[in-house]
């Protein structure tokens, strides 16, 4: 049945996976456009195959060997660290202490690195383009796998979580094919801030539940209020991040007037 909870799960998984896929696409495009499309695509397909093997092995191990609370502790802690890394960047960017993430800039850096790298051919492939594409897609893909596992199992609806992530992958591929360039118009900084809040909240919720692995029965720790505490955690991270942005905000530099700027240039 299509409920608001199902819609929320689909949107959360879609948004979180979308950001990861955009980053992977930027890397693959940079390698394809500057080095070799064939090597970039072989790297991408190899990474996707490796992801399938990784997901199957991890899924089997998690389902058969690990108690639920151990799964919550491991995956929750990883997701909490990912989420807080994103939140850290969002706070630093919003307070003016770090440049806003710009997919065009990221694309420019990747293409420059690709042009500087030497030519090494292995198995008929441009090895640099293959390795960079493989690493980019695998790294972002593993994050998507963890996001799907956490959101899906938490909502007890793995199919919707998988559909949300798969839809994000298809949408990014289609937009990338149409735009034939990096997705510069995606409001990535805002998306990452929102996704960071979600990952930090779900990760914290799960990691704390998972501490129950240390009890005699190995049962998960109970949160007072159950799943409703997720909303409280999201609110808490939002309030803390807004407070940190205000506290750490850099005062704007006074604008340099045109004559002064010209004089400086002449010197």
């Amino acid at each position: 049945m299509f409920t608001s909870a199902v819609a929320g799960l689909a949107v959360a998984t879609f948004a979180a996976s979308f950001v990861e896929f955009v980053e992977a696409l930027t890397i693959v495009l940079a390698m394809g456009m500057t080095r070799s499309w064939k090597s970039a695509w072989v790297g991408t397909v190899t990474a996707l195959l490796a992801l399938v093997v990784f997901t199957a092995a991890a899924g089997y191990a998690l389902a058969n060997w690990l108690p639920e609370s151990a799964l919550q502790l491991v995956v929750g802690t990883l997701l909490l660290i990912f989420g807080l890394q994103w939140l850290r960047k969002a706070v630093l960017r919003s307070s003016g202490r770090k440049a806003l993430h710009d997919e065009a800039e990221e694309f420019r850096e990747q293409t420059e690195a690709a042009r500087r790298a030497g030519r090494e051919s292995r198995f008929g492939l441009d090895w640099f383009a293959f390795v960079v594409s493989f690493k980019g897609v695998f790294l972002e893909g593993v994050e998507v796998v963890f996001i799907v596992i956490t959101f899906g199992l938490n909502a007890k609806n793995m199919p919707v979580a998988i559909i949300g992530a798969a839809a994000a992958g298809i949408v990014v591929l289609v937009i990338g094919a149409v735009a034939h360039g990096p997705l510069t118009r995606v409001p990535e900084n805002t998306l990452k801030y929102g996704v960071g809040l979600l990952l930090a909240s779900f990760g914290l919720y799960w990691a704390v539940e998972g501490l129950g692995i240390l009890t005699d029965g190995g049962n998960s720790i109970e949160w007072p209020g159950g799943d409703w505490m997720l909303l409280v955690l999201i609110a808490a991270w939002l309030l803390l991040s807004r407070a940190l942005i205000s506290a750490l905000r850099r005062p704007a530099r006074p604008a340099v007037t045109a004559p002064v700027a010209r004089a400086t240039e002449e010197v």
Binding site: T77, I81, L84, Q85, R88, V91, A207, V208, L214, I221
Partner: protein
Amino acid sequence: MAFVRGFFAFWYDFIIGDDWKIALAVVLALGAGAVAVLAGYAASALLAPLVALAVLVAFTIALVVDVRASS
């Protein structure tokens, strides 16, 4: 050897990321929660909120240390 180095570098980059202090903050706060569970407070209704508070405080400290060190 290069493969092993690359393998560990990949997972370090994946798990620790740009700022190791964030990972350390999470491990320390959850570690404090683990000590509380082992001390027999697992059934306390205060345990989960207090561990959450510890993670929020640890994140704040890690971020402030990071900003002070780079400014």
